[in-house]
C-alpha cells in the first residue's frame, strides 16, 4: 500500500464557522432554555399598556424564536422528525403570541366567523353561486384557450404588421387589471349604447384578459419546437396548416399544458372579480348573505368553498409542472 501524502494544510478550515458552532447540541439546548425563561419571566402580560418598550420586547422575542428554530431547521444532519416537531412548536408559539397580544376579541370568533346556524337552509344559495362561478370559468376557459391558440398561430406567420397588432393586444390586456376591464365594459360601454349583461361582460373580460396570457403560453410552446421540424415537414410538401396541426402543435402541447393549467386556475380565481359587475357567482352570493344576515360567516364559507375547489387544482398544476421539469431535464 502506498502512503497517502499529507496535504491537510491545503484544505483545513482557516476561518471560524459560526454556523457549525451554533448547531452543537449543547448550544442548541442552551438557546432553547433561554427561550423558555424569556417566555416565562420577561414577556409582558397582555394587559400592559402598549408602549415602545412593549413592542420592542415582543419583537425581540419573535426574533429569538426564529433564531432558535431556524438553527435547527437549517441543520441538514438533524432528523426530519425533530425538525417537524420544532416547526410545529414555532407555529404554536406564533399563534399563541397572536392570540395573546393582537388585541382581537376572541369571544366573537364563534359568533361572527363560524356561526353556521345563520347559514341553515341557505347553503343552496352558495352552491348556486359556485355553479355560476364554475360555468363562468368553463366558458371563459374555452374562450381564452381559443384566443390564445389563434393568436399564437397567427404569430407563426411572422408578418411584422400582423405581429405588431397581436403584440398590442397582448400587452394591453396583460397590463390592465382584470377588475378595470370588467368595470369598463359593464359601466362605461353603456354610455356608448353598448349594454352587455354581467355574465357576458365577465366571459368577455376573462376570455380577452386570460387569452393574452394563454397566447404567450402557446407561443412559448410553439417556439420550443425545433425549427428543423418545420423544415422537415415543409420539405415533404406539407402545407402550412398541416405542418402546424400535425407536427408543431402535437409537440407543443406537452410543453403548453402545465403553464396553461396554471393560467386557467388563476382565471377561475379571478371569476370572483365578477361580483363587482353583479354576476351572481359565489362571492356575490356570499356578500348578499353577509348583508342580509349582517354576519360575515357566509364570507368564511365562501372562502372555504374556494379552497376546497382550488386546492386540488393547484396540486394538479404542481404535479404537471414537476413532470414537465423532469421531461426537460432528461
Amino acid at each position: 500500500m502506498s502512503t497517502r501524502p499529507d496535504n491537510t494544510h491545503k484544505f483545513v478550515r482557516t476561518h471560524p464557522s459560526w454556523s457549525v458552532w451554533l448547531r452543537r447540541p449543547p448550544v442548541v439546548a442552551l438557546s432553547f432554555a433561554l427561550l423558555a425563561s424569556y417566555a416565562v419571566f420577561l414577556l409582558p402580560s397582555a394587559e400592559t399598556e402598549s408602549s415602545l418598550l412593549f413592542y420592542l420586547n415582543i419583537n425581540l422575542f419573535i426574533l429569538y424564536v426564529l433564531f432558535c428554530t431556524g438553527n435547527v431547521l437549517a441543520d441538514g444532519k438533524k432528523p426530519e422528525s425533530l425538525k417537524m416537531l420544532v416547526a410545529l412548536a414555532l407555529i404554536a408559539i406564533m399563534c399563541w403570541l397572536f392570540y395573546r397580544y393582537s388585541g382581537a376579541e376572541w369571544h366573537r370568533l364563534r359568533e361572527f366567523f363560524f356561526n353556521w346556524e345563520k347559514l341553515q337552509g341557505k347553503w343552496w344559495i352558495l352552491w348556486q353561486g359556485l355553479e355560476v362561478t364554475l360555468l363562468l370559468a368553463f366558458i371563459s376557459g374555452i374562450g381564452s384557450v381559443l384566443i390564445g391558440l389563434l393568436v399564437a398561430i397567427l404569430h407563426t406567420l411572422h408578418s411584422p404588421t400582423l405581429n405588431f397588432f397581436l403584440r398590442v393586444y397582448i400587452d394591453v390586456f396583460r397590463s390592465i387589471p382584470m377588475i378595470v376591464i370588467m368595470v369598463f365594459i359593464f359601466f362605461a360601454l353603456p354610455f356608448m349604447g353598448i349594454s352587455l349583461g354581467s355574465i357576458v361582460t365577465t366571459v368577455l373580460a376573462l376570455s380577452l384578459g386570460y387569452g393574452a396570457y394563454a397566447t404567450e403560453c402557446f407561443r412559448a410552446g410553439i417556439e420550443s419546437v425545433h425549427t428543423g421540424q418545420l423544415e422537415a415537414a415543409r420539405s415533404l410538401g406539407l402545407s402550412r396548416w398541416k405542418t402546424i396541426s400535425k407536427i408543431i402543435l402535437p409537440q407543443a402541447f406537452p410543453v403548453v399544458i402545465p403553464p396553461l393549467t396554471g393560467i386557467l386556475v388563476a382565471m377561475l380565481k379571478d371569476t370572483a372579480v365578477a361580483s363587482i359587475v353583479a354576476a351572481p357567482e359565489l362571492l356575490k352570493r356570499a356578500r348578499e348573505l353577509y348583508t342580509s344576515e349582517t354576519n360575515p360567516t357566509p364570507l368564511v364559507a365562501a372562502a372555504l368553498i374556494y379552497l376546497m375547489v382550488l386546492i386540488p387544482l393547484v396540486r394538479v398544476v404542481n404535479v404537471l409542472e414537476n413532470k414537465l421539469g423532469k421531461k426537460r431535464s432528461r
Binding site: S235, L236, L238, S239, K242
Partner: protein, 246 residues
C-alpha cells in the same frame, strides 16, 4: 448523359441575408440520374444553395427550373414542387412524437391522400429497403443516429420524389454508423435517383458521384468529375480545402 432529361437548372442564383451576400450567382445543371456532390468550406453557402432549390429559403434573384418548370413563378404551388424533391438533413429531423412508420406515412397520407393501408405498405417496403423493418413501431428517441437517418431517408422516399437532396447526412453520426447510411445512398444512386449531396465523405463521392460542385464564398469555383477534382485540379482554393479534409 447528354440525351438525359434536365432535372434541375439553376441560372445566376443569388441569396442575401440582410447585408450578407451568401450566394453570388450560381449556375448549374443537373441531369436525370446524375449524382452531384457539393463540397466547400463551412459557411460557403452549400446548405443555403440546397435550401433555395426547394424554397425553404427564398432566393433573392435568379431562376430555378425543376423538371423544366420555373418554380419561382407566382402561379407555382411550392408544396407540389417539394413533393418531387426529398430532403435529408444533418440532424435527421424525424418527428419525435411519431413512430418510424408514422413518420413515413404522414406525408403520403396527408399530401398524396393515400389510404392508411397503402401508406403503411409503401412505408414497410421502404423500411425493408433501409433494413429497419423491425423498427417500424419504434420512436426516434430509441433509435441510434444511423437508424434515425435511414428512417429519415425512407420518409423522404415515401413521397416517391424524382430528386433527393442530402445536406451533410453523415456529419452528425458516430463513425461506425456512417457506413450504413452511405450504403443506402449508394443503392439509391445505383437505382438511378437524381441526387445532390453535400458531403465530405471522399470514399462515397469518388465511388458514387458523377460530378463535384466546389463552392467557395457562394460561388462555384470548380465543377468537374471526382477524378478531375481529386487528382488533377490545379485550382488553389480546391487544393487548399482538399489538403485539410484528407
Amino acid at each position: 448523359m447528354n440525351d438525359a432529361e434536365t432535372m434541375i437548372e439553376v441560372v445566376d442564383l443569388h441569396k442575401h441575408f440582410k447585408d450578407l451576400h451568401v450566394l453570388r450567382g450560381i449556375s448549374t445543371t443537373v441531369k436525370q440520374s446524375e449524382v452531384v456532390a457539393v463540397m466547400g468550406p463551412s459557411g460557403s453557402g452549400k446548405s443555403t444553395f440546397l435550401r433555395c432549390l426547394n424554397r425553404l429559403e427564398e432566393p433573392s434573384s435568379g431562376h430555378i427550373y425543376i423538371e423544366g418548370v420555373d418554380i419561382l413563378a407566382p402561379y407555382i404551388d411550392i408544396n407540389r414542387v417539394r413533393t418531387e424533391i426529398g430532403m435529408v438533413f444533418q440532424s435527421f429531423n424525424l418527428f419525435p412524437h411519431l413512430t418510424a412508420i408514422e413518420n413515413i406515412k404522414l406525408a403520403p397520407m396527408s399530401v398524396r391522400k393515400l389510404s392508411d393501408k397503402e401508406a403503411v405498405d409503401r412505408g414497410m417496403a421502404l423500411l425493408e429497403k433501409v433494413d429497419l423493418a423491425e423498427k417500424a413501431d419504434t420512436y426516434p428517441e430509441q433509435l441510434s443516429g444511423g437508424q434515425q437517418q435511414r428512417v429519415a431517408i425512407a420518409r423522404a422516399l415515401a413521397m416517391q420524389p424524382q430528386i433527393m437532396f442530402f445536406d451533410e447526412p453523415t456529419s452528425a453520426l458516430d463513425p461506425e454508423m456512417i457506413g450504413e447510411v452511405l450504403d443506402v445512398m449508394r443503392n439509391m444512386a445505383k437505382e438511378g435517383m437524381t441526387m445532390m449531396v453535400v458531403s465530405h465523405e471522399m470514399g462515397f463521392i469518388k465511388e458514387a458521384a458523377d460530378r463535384i460542385l466546389f463552392l467557395v464564398d457562394g460561388e462555384v469555383v470548380e465543377d468537374g468529375t471526382p477524378d478531375h477534382i481529386f487528382n488533377r485540379t490545379t485550382h488553389e482554393r480546391t487544393l487548399e480545402f482538399l489538403s485539410k479534409i484528407i
